[in-house]
Amino acid sequence: MLLSPKTVSTLKAVIFLAALVPLGRLAAGASFFPDWLGANPAEFITRSTGDWTLRFLLLTLAVTPLRKLVGWHWLLRFRRMLGLYAFFYGVVHLSSYVAFDHVFDVMEILPDIVKRPFITVGFTALVLLIPLAITSTDNMVRRLGAKRWLALHRLVYAIAPLGVLHFWWMVKRDITEPAIYAVILTALLGYRAAVKMKERRRSRPAPGGALPQPRANA
């Protein structure tokens, strides 16, 4: 399916606004409707923005498998926005921890990041997202060159597992929710690994065939 430029820009606007709904709900709850956020609004905001960071990360990672399996190549047009929203919600998530949990006390936050493994991995994941966000523009793709840009953006294969690990280690006892994220992530990354393995097998000579040939792309 090929989308017309007009459809693409309309869809982009729709996705852009839809992705702001969770933030809008939190902002409205914090300012006008305290009942929306319950007894512990800070916890609600931190949890919710963390959830949305992971969801956008998984959506970003779902684009390639969906293109290849279902043929929805047009999804690629929206991947950058999904990735940037993952970064955006990650930044809001970190900010709420900095502001609400530690009241901007840097001397308290730094040891906290080092000392608590779940915060260490979460923080690392967000820091690793920064270069990806910075190099997300068309201009940066051109400047880096497609090959280097792609290599850099493979960082997401480390970032997403770190994000899920962050959630897993944060939970006290009931790991149901992080486990759901882990299963989806495993499927998305497992698909890529399977494709890679298949390609490698294809490039290998059949048993009993000729001697190994140098690979064309080696």
Binding site: N40, A42, A99, F100, E108, K115, K172, R173
Partner: protein, 319 residues
């Protein structure tokens, strides 16, 4: 000009004193202009009216000098933000699912190293002289509330069963009702939930068995029909819906110790200098504040009364 923060803020100093004094003035004003007689009744009216669940009212409740003068947390927050894993691990789940808890008939078996083991019907316990105790509650998850509990000191119950000299610890076993508790289907903890105290902690006047809050019997999600409240320890030490109290010689193994001994110690006294691996304990958030602006106070501000229980103990080792 740099603003210097004193290193140890007393709980009473966190909210400025004039605030309290004005609160008292307000009560006095109401008392003066009112035809309401007993002081207790006036105090109850001076508190902001709370929309409660309208459960059974508890009568003849005495006020206690051991209550804090801090304003109580709203009833709706106290009853909708709960850790009661038997009904789900999300805070809002107990308020939804605990309706199914069967709270009558209810017996509390008191046994072990006692001269007169006994099973108490909860109705008998409700007939004991009741007091209102407005206590701070500090959760290990770095949030806190102020709750007007109604109950009686644990030592009153102990007197009725006469613990022997062998009774060094008290074990509290809580309800296990698989048919009404959706949370116990998951092996989140080793059910039933068990907590424990050293005998001197249990007999301390601050340790109460609560049967109500905000003037009414306990809502199920808060541990109906009877629960423990130990205000200087993290909230999980205060077991809910107690069915069995055992006086024992050896330190009991609590549910959280069995689950994760590195994170949850037997004592679990509120202590800003002993961090939990998941949460810094330096500060806390008073529900429903957005900012965790309060500094945690050792023994949750009850140090004056309980610190002597732990003299000579290394509280960083025995956390």
């Amino acid at each position: 000009m740099p603003i210097k923060r004193p290193s140890d803020i007393l709980p009473s100093a966190i909210t400025p004193r004039p605030f309290y004094e004005r609160r008292r003035e307000l009560i006095k004003l109401l008392a003066a202009g009112s035809i309401l007689g007993p002081a207790g009744l006036v105090a109850a009216c001076a508190r902001e009216p709370e929309q409660t669940l309208g459960l059974q009212k508890l009568e003849n409740v005495k006020q206690s000098p051991l209550s804090t003068s801090e304003p109580p947390t709203a009833y709706k927050h106290v009853t909708t933000y709960n850790n009661y894993y038997e009904f789900g691990t999300e805070k809002e789940e107990p308020a939804v699912h605990a309706k199914r808890l069967k709270v009558r008939p209810w017996t509390v078996v008191v046994e072990g190293e006692v001269a007169k083991p006994r099973a108490f019907g909860v109705e008998d316990l409700l007939k004991l002289p009741l007091e209102e105790r407005i206590y701070r509650l500090r959760c290990v998850e770095a949030w806190s509330m102020v709750i007007p509990w109604i109950g009686f000191e644990f030592n009153r119950l102990a007197k009725l069963v006469e613990p022997t000299s062998k009774a060094k610890f008290v074990e509290f076993v809580t309800a296990y009702q698989p048919e009404s508790m959706p949370g116990v289907r998951l092996p989140v903890l080793d059910w039933p939930y068990v907590e424990g105290l050293r005998i001197d902690e249990a007999m301390h006047p601050l340790t109460i068995l609560a049967v109500g809050l905000y003037g009414e019997v306990l809502p199920n999600q808060n541990g109906a029909p009877i629960r423990l409240v130990v205000p200087w320890k993290y909230g999980f030490k205060s077991g809910k819906s107690i069915v069995r109290i055992r006086f024992v010689e050896k330190q009991p193994k609590t549910a959280w110790e069995r689950a994760n001994a590195n994170e949850y110690g037997f004592y679990s006294n509120v202590n800003p200098t002993v961090d939990h691996p998941r949460w810094s304990q330096k500060r806390e958030r008073r529900i429903p504040d957005l900012f965790a602006k309060r500094e945690t106070v050792i023994f949750n501000g009850y140090g004056e009364r309980v610190a002597s229980l732990y003299s000579g103990m290394d509280l960083k080792q025995l956390f």
